[in-house]
């Protein structure tokens, strides 16, 4: 039978590649690698799609996340792409905000940039555990609202939330600063041993705080006459 595509046998089109193509290709490859790391984390940690929020599980998950991102060359924009893909893409089969937050925290903590800006305002989910163990040399600015356990175990970095948070913000933070433009939920600063937590709006409730300072609407509310440090 005659080849029906005969006319196209020399139709190898002059393809002009522009730098944009390379940039996007590299971006997609990086995102794929990052996504793979996240999937590996889920495989290990979120069996049956259940992940228990416990001290030990968070530490373990963070350790796996760190291993997963080892060797990946990425930028702050790649982290933001990953956050966007979490919410919108078909590439991620399931989103569990705990491991996602741990993973993003690992990405932020090991990013080359000292200052990382994440635009998360359009995300429909609020990611938990952002800013986990943010180190001294890092500044993380999140535009949008965040979930529970934000900035827990903060380790010297500066974490700015241009929005509101939920519960257990700053839990167990050791040093550094968390600035929240709007409101926070319950158990704020639970187990906090140092650092500053500055809230522009309302705090629904404080946790059992050991040390550090908490401000609500420019007023120091911990340590305060009515609230004494807690000893575990």
């Amino acid at each position: 039978m005659k080849n029906p595509f005969e006319a196209f046998h020399q139709a190898g089109v002059r393809k002009r590649e522009i730098p944009l193509d390379k940039i996007l290709k590299s971006k997609e490859e990086t995102l794929s690698t990052i996504l793979k790391g996240y999937e590996d984390l889920l495989k290990n940690e979120a069996k049956d799609l259940v992940w228990l929020m416990q001290y030990s599980t968070v530490i373990k998950a963070y350790s796996i996340a760190e291993k997963g991102i080892e060797g990946i060359e990425y930028t702050a924009e790649d982290i933001e792409e990953f956050c966007y893909a979490l919410d919108h893409s078909d590439q991620i089969p399931y989103l569990i905000t705990g491991p996602a937050g741990v993973y993003i925290s690992a990405l932020c903590n090991h990013a080359k940039e000292e200052e990382i800006y994440l635009h998360l305002r359009d995300l429909t989910v609020k990611i938990n555990l952002l800013g986990y163990r943010l180190p001294t040399d890092k500044k993380l600015i999140v535009e949008g609202n965040v979930g529970d356990f934000t900035g827990i175990g903060l380790d010297g970095g500066e974490f700015i939330i241009e929005g509101s948070g939920k519960n257990y913000t700053g839990a167990g933070m050791k040093r550094g600063r968390i600035i929240v433009r709007h409101n926070l939920g319950f158990n704020t600063g639970h187990g906090m041993t140092g650092g500053e937590l500055i809230v522009g709006g309302r705090i629904k409730g404080l946790g059992k705080i050991v040390g550090g300072k908490i401000y609500e609407r420019d007023q120091l509310i911990f340590p305060h006459e009515g609230i004494k440090p807690f000893s575990f």
Partner: protein, 447 residues
């Protein structure tokens, strides 16, 4: 004879008819030139031996435009054209359309057919074809399609002919043109109102003697056609009279028609004109959208495409029937004819974008939901042609977006078909599925 010799003649015919006989506005533009679509397509039908369906309101020149083109191009005096027309009405019979028994011979018990002028001459005009009952429409299918006319076990085969059929818009006295017949028409065109200013001057300079009439030659031709000689001999004799009429046209009107050899030469020239790659790919893309069905393998009028199909955004979702194989033939013939007429080296996308709507308009059955959606939109064309134009532009937009990728896919298709181990390119358009089918890749339908 190349170098535009024949094209000049055809342009001369166009100019004469548009200046003197069929007054109307230019309504299409191609390659910087403006033409009246009815006249242009009628000429293309004439030189291309095509079949044209002309629609329009009563009295807007549907039949007369075809008569003029037929008369000048084939050099038959107008009186012969008139005498050969078939008019559509319910009482039409096979004897009036195709032929009848020779009554004298019949009384002697012998069968001999007297062929109608309509069956014999190469210019065939059926006036108001949609007034023919459906049984009569079925009768002329073979003749319309191939120029084969049968009656009483005798057969007459036209070796060249052009068919023009006219139809008014649907009213109480009209029937639907049956699907097999309508598919046999190459193009659908509207004969429009010329506007009040041009309409006012129509007929102003009419003289009692129509310039395309010649009583003497008409009489001779009628005698030839009525005679007993074999068909081929009659046509040779008729050609002689046509040559004389052609000389008359040249002398008195400065018009040159084409003789049979010249018409054959024109056809040979047209056939040699090739499609460029873009046009080739674009037409394939259009055919894919008009024939493909992801769920059922191909479009079928009896199978309904449901909501939720991946290809909902494509034309295959909006149409009921499948494009026939006559569609690409019509596209090819008319696009080549147009490119030839414009003296272009090859057929490009501009040619096919002009042709495809007219080739498509009468062949597509749109879903009611699509019709309803589009019905209220403002337009300059009758609804069928408007829908076809919109469809063509939709396909064109898709082609424009993925041109490079599609050409690549077709190139890979060539290699795969030739036996090379290559992976066909994936894409979002039915054409990519068609390419895969052609190279033997199995289509995994999701459950």
């Amino acid at each position: 004879m190349k170098n535009g010799y024949y094209q000049t003649k055809i342009r001369g015919i166009y100019k004469y008819i548009s200046d003197n006989l069929y007054l109307n506005r230019p309504d299409v533009e191609i390659k910087g030139e403006h033409f009246n679509s009815t006249l242009l397509f009628s000429l293309l039908t004439g030189i291309n031996r095509g079949k044209e369906l002309i629609i329009g309101e009563p009295g807007l020149g549907k039949t007369t435009s075809a008569e003029y083109v037929g008369s000048i191009l084939y050099r038959y005096p107008l009186g012969v054209i008139w005498g050969s027309e078939v008019s559509g009405h319910p009482e039409q019979t096979e004897e009036k359309i195709i032929g009848r028994p020779h009554l004298g011979e019949l009384n002697k018990g012998k069968e001999r057919v007297v062929w109608s002028n309509f069956a014999q001459i190469p210019v065939k005009i059926v006036d108001e074809i949609n007034r023919l009952p459906e049984t009569k429409q079925s009768m002329i299918l073979n003749g319309v399609d191939r120029g084969n006319w049968e009656y009483l076990n005798e057969i007459l085969i036209n070796d060249e002919y052009s068919l023009f059929a006219t139809a008014n818009y649907q009213d109480r006295g009209t029937n639907t043109i049956i699907a097999p017949l309508i598919d046999r028409f190459d193009v659908l065109i509207e004969s429009r109102h010329p506007g009040s200013n041009i309409a006012y001057i129509i007929g102003k300079e009419a003289s009692s003697n129509h310039p395309l009439r010649h009583p003497q030659y008409e009489k001779e031709l009628h005698q030839i056609l009525r005679g007993d000689k074999p068909y081929e001999e009659k046509m040779t004799l008729a050609e002689g009279v046509c040559n004389l009429f052609g000389d008359y046209l040249k002398e008195h009107l400065g018009l040159e028609g084409l003789n049979k050899d010249e018409r054959n030469n024109v056809n040979e020239e047209m056939v040699e004109i090739d499609f460029d790659l873009d046009t080739n790919a674009f037409v394939r893309m259009a055919l894919a959208e008009l024939s493909f069905c992801h769920k059922y393998g191909q479009k079928r009028s009896v199978e309904v495409c449901e909501e939720g199909c991946h290809y909902t955004g494509y034309l295959c979702h909006h149409i009921k029937n499948c494009a026939s194989n006559r569609l690409p033939i019509s596209i090819r013939n008319y696009a080549q004819a147009l490119a030839w007429f414009l003296e272009d080296d090859g057929v490009d996308i501009e040619h096919v974008r002009l042709i495809i709507p007219h080739v498509l308009a009468h062949r597509i059955q749109w879903k009611d939901s699509y019709l309803s959606k589009k019905e209220g939109e403002g337009r300059n064309d009758p609804f069928q042609i408007y829908l076809a134009k919109e469809a063509t532009e939709e396909i064109f937009q898709r082609y424009n977006e993925q041109r490079e990728y599609l050409l690549d896919a077709l190139s890979v298709g060539y290699r795969a078909f030739a036996g090379e181990e290559v992976t066909p390119l994936e894409g979002d358009h039915p054409i990519y599925e068609e390419i895969k089918k052609d190279i033997g890749v199995k289509d995994e339908k999701p459950l």
